[in-house]
Each structure stands twice: as structure tokens, then as C-alpha cells.
Symmetry: C2
DNA sequence: ATCAAGTATTTTGTATACAGACTTCAGAAC
DNA sequence: GTTCTGAAGTCTGTATACAAAATACTTGAT
């Protein structure tokens, strides 16, 4: 917290038209949590945060309650909200559920997705490969997420997409930790290649198998960076 | 809405110790939505609701934001919250996801559940049969839900339980509609019987198959009561 | 009578005020 | 030196107040 600024002027002021202030606060808080600016276990001081964002406590508290329902923060009575900490078991559980959801999504996708939709995912995949060869980790990471989201979207199931997105959000914070080395990175790329092939072949069983393994590998890549 | 009371006295006042007022409001709102007291599409008037519950708008709004994140209500900018309406496709999607989650839960459960845990589910099942033979729909319904929740809990995956519970909550409102006739009720009971057998035999594939079919049947039981 | 425009009322969104609970820290007792 | 106690300060939880937007209603014109 050495570089956190505690001055009273709202430097990061959120100035949006009235309607979407709620969403603006929400996104900002999410980012602060995901990027570790608000570390796990940290208390969310409503006064400070409000001053920092340039809003009063009322809409801020509403946004915090929203985040609590998303599972990013934890509400402790009379003690406010704190950034939720995830132990190893919880991360494993989240990855397992995400895997199950993606497997289900994959099975639906090969049935209902249009060729165009699959081609769009292929395009993202190719772009991701460019980032990989360029060594551009951040863009690679973003496209990686986007591809998984896109595959889920191919299943044409809003409920599924929403739940998956929520899990992804929680996991984002973790995956930032998983700075895998070059060899693990390469294997992840290879898995993605297989994934695309199975999707384009509309082979449900193969796709489900790969997606399942992909998440298992993801666990192996991040588990060492976790405590307890 | 003929019997809704609009008087200003807070008849349903919530008087709880300071800490859990938030949860109290939350549960009351959830109940009002699930039981249809707040019908789908209805606007949540903060003034009226606050007066009805005996709380000011501030904590009420926080609870509403929480429910919005749960997907029970929809936030419309400058127009407040309204009870979310689910079309046929959305209900089907929710059932499909719930099915996928339960299948995954079942596969985990047969691996990690203790015999004691499975026996507890069996006890609930037997109790449910008593309700069935007694024709007690309400208690049957509650035990039915509890059994599904319990099976998911056997998987020992908090994330899974939480997501499943959230979906169940959304579906509760729908299932109230599905007043199946005696023959369909009997088939549902038969499916539960098979479910228990597969669980006790720790036969993952069979359990998953039955759970999948069970949710498919649930869809057939309720789909006629839905529009578009 | 129907429709349009402008005004009044209602309702949401945000800020502020205040009461109660928690935290912290100083000082006394052991 | 450690631990208990309590008072000051901080923070959360709730209510109220006010501004902006939406809704309802009245009035007038066609």
C-alpha cells in the first residue's frame, strides 16, 4: 500500500451520466480487486473509497452489496466488506465447476453453433497465436479469456454464459498469479490448438475431454502459487 | 393484487438485531418474489416496499441491488427495479445448466461422499416418499429441493453448491407453476428412486444419466405452463 | 372525442446527518 | 512487562433531505 494515495481529492473521479454510475463504480471496484489494487483480505473503507472515486457512500455501498452477491467481497456485519480470500481448495473447486460448465457448453456448441460462429472463434485463436509468438502475455491472456467466453457463448444459453462469466471474474484474480514459464505456456497453446480442431470437427466428446483436461492443467499451473 | 395492503403502518415490520437486517430484507424480498406476491414484471416501488417492511429506502435499495446480482430482479436506469420475467427459453436454459451442474455434482459425490452422507440423503428420500403417499405436495416439494441440494453438497464443492443454490432459487418461482398431475408426479418419484439407487451403488455414469433425464423431465412438466 | 403539450406529482438517484458498534490507544492494576 | 479497562476516535448502518428524471394529469387545440 506504499504507493496508494490517501489525499482527499477525488483524483479518479467517475463522471458519467446519471444512469450508469452504478455500473461505473462496479467496474472500477472489480478492476481494483482483480488487479490486486485491493488485495485479498483488505477491508473496503467506505469513506476512503468514496473519496477516492468521488462518490458518496450511498451508491458505493450499493455497488459493494452487488459485488458481495458476486462473491468478490465478503460482508461482515458491523465490520463492512472485505476482499474475499480464496484458498487452494476453493480455487480448485472454482476451476472444476468452470470446467464442467465449459464441457457442457462445448457439447451444446458443437450442436447449435453456426459455422460462422465457429469461424469467429478460430479467428480469435489465430490472433492469440500471433500474440504468443510475439511473446505478448497480456494480449494473449485477454484473448485466451475471450476465446473461452466465446465458446460458452456458442452454446446459446444466457444463463450458462452469465454463470461462467461470473466464475471467470473470480478466477481472473488468481490467474494473474499463474505466471507460467515458457514450456507450460507452450503446452497451454497446444491444448488450445486441439480445442479448436475438436470444435471445428464438431466432435463433442473430444472437445469435452480437452476442455476438461485444459482446466485440470490450469490447476496444475496455478496451484503452487497458492497457500493452504 | 386485490388483497395487497397499501396502508402506511409497517405491519410486516422486520425487527432483527442490527447485524442481519440486510439478510432479513433480502429473505423477505426473495420470498415475496418466489411466492408470486411480487409478480414477474412488477416494479419494485422503493417507497411502498420500504413502508411495508418498516425500513427506509437505503437498506432496501442495497438489498435490491443484491437481488439484481442474483438475477431475481432487473435494474432499469432511472426506473428502478422490476421482477425479472423468464421466457420459456430462459427456463429451459436454466434447467439445462442446473442439470449439468447436478451431473457434475453426482460424479463428484460418488467419489468423495461418505457413507453417512449418502445415508442422510436416503433418509430424506424416505421421508419424501411418506409425503408423497400422504399427498402432501408442499412438504414433498420442499424435501425434493432439499434432496437435490444435499446431493450437490455431497460433492464437497462450495462454489458448486452456491451456484446451484442460486439457480434453484430462480427456478423455485417456476416450479411452483408446474402443478403436475398424479401420473407425472409418480414418474418423478420413480426417477428419484433410481437416483438413490445409483448414488448408493456409487455408479457415477448411471447417476449422471438419471440426473440428466430428471431435469429433462422437469422441463417437460413445466414447459406447457410457460409463454413464448 | 382524440391527441398534444405543459405542468404537477411521483419516484429514483445521490448526498448528508446521526446513532450505534467496533477499534485503538493510553493508563492503571497485577 | 503484561493484561485489563475505558475513553476517544473511526467506521458502519440507517434515516432523512434534496435534485433530477419519469410518470400522471390537466388543459387546450384540432
Amino acid at each position: 500500500m506504499a504507493n496508494s494515495r490517501m489525499s482527499d481529492e477525488p483524483e479518479m473521479e467517475i463522471k458519467i451520466e446519471r444512469q450508469s454510475l452504478h455500473d461505473a463504480i462496479l467496474n472500477r471496484l472489480r478492476d481494483m480487486i482483480i488487479e490486486g489494487h485491493l488485495p485479498p483480505g483488505a477491508r473496503l473503507n467506505e469513506g476512503q473509497l468514496g473519496a477516492r472515486l468521488g462518490v458518496s457512500r450511498t451508491p458505493l455501498r450499493e455497488a459493494i452489496k452487488f459485488l458481495a452477491s458476486e462473491g468478490l467481497v465478503e460482508l461482515v456485519p458491523s465490520r463492512g466488506a472485505m476482499v474475499k480470500e480464496f484458498g487452494a481448495k476453493e480455487v480448485l473447486n472454482m476451476l472444476q465447476v468452470a470446467g464442467a460448465l465449459e464441457q457442457f457448453a462445448g457439447r451444446c456448441a458443437v450442436e447449435v453453433a453456426s459455422d460462422k460462429g465457429i469461424a469467429a472463434v478460430r479467428a480469435m485463436h489465430d490472433e492469440m497465436l500471433v500474440c504468443y509468438r510475439r511473446g505478448d502475455r497480456l494480449d494473449y491472456y485477454k484473448l485466451n479469456q475471450a476465446i473461452h467466453t466465446a465458446i460458452v457463448a456458442l452454446a446459446d444459453n444466457d444463463t450458462l454464459s452469465e454463470i461462467h462469466a461470473r466464475l471467470q471474474t473470480r478466477l481472473k484474480r488468481i490467474r494473474f498469479i499463474g505466471h507460467e514459464g515458457p514450456e507450460k505456456w507452450a503446452s497451454a497453446v497446444a491444448e488450445h490448438e486441439e480445442m479448436m480442431a475438436a470444435l471445428e470437427a464438431r466432435d463433442a466428446d473430444r472437445l469435452a475431454k480437452i476442455l476438461g483436461e485444459h482446466l485440470t492443467r490450469a490447476w496444475e499451473r496455478v496451484k503452487d502459487g497458492l497457500e493452504s
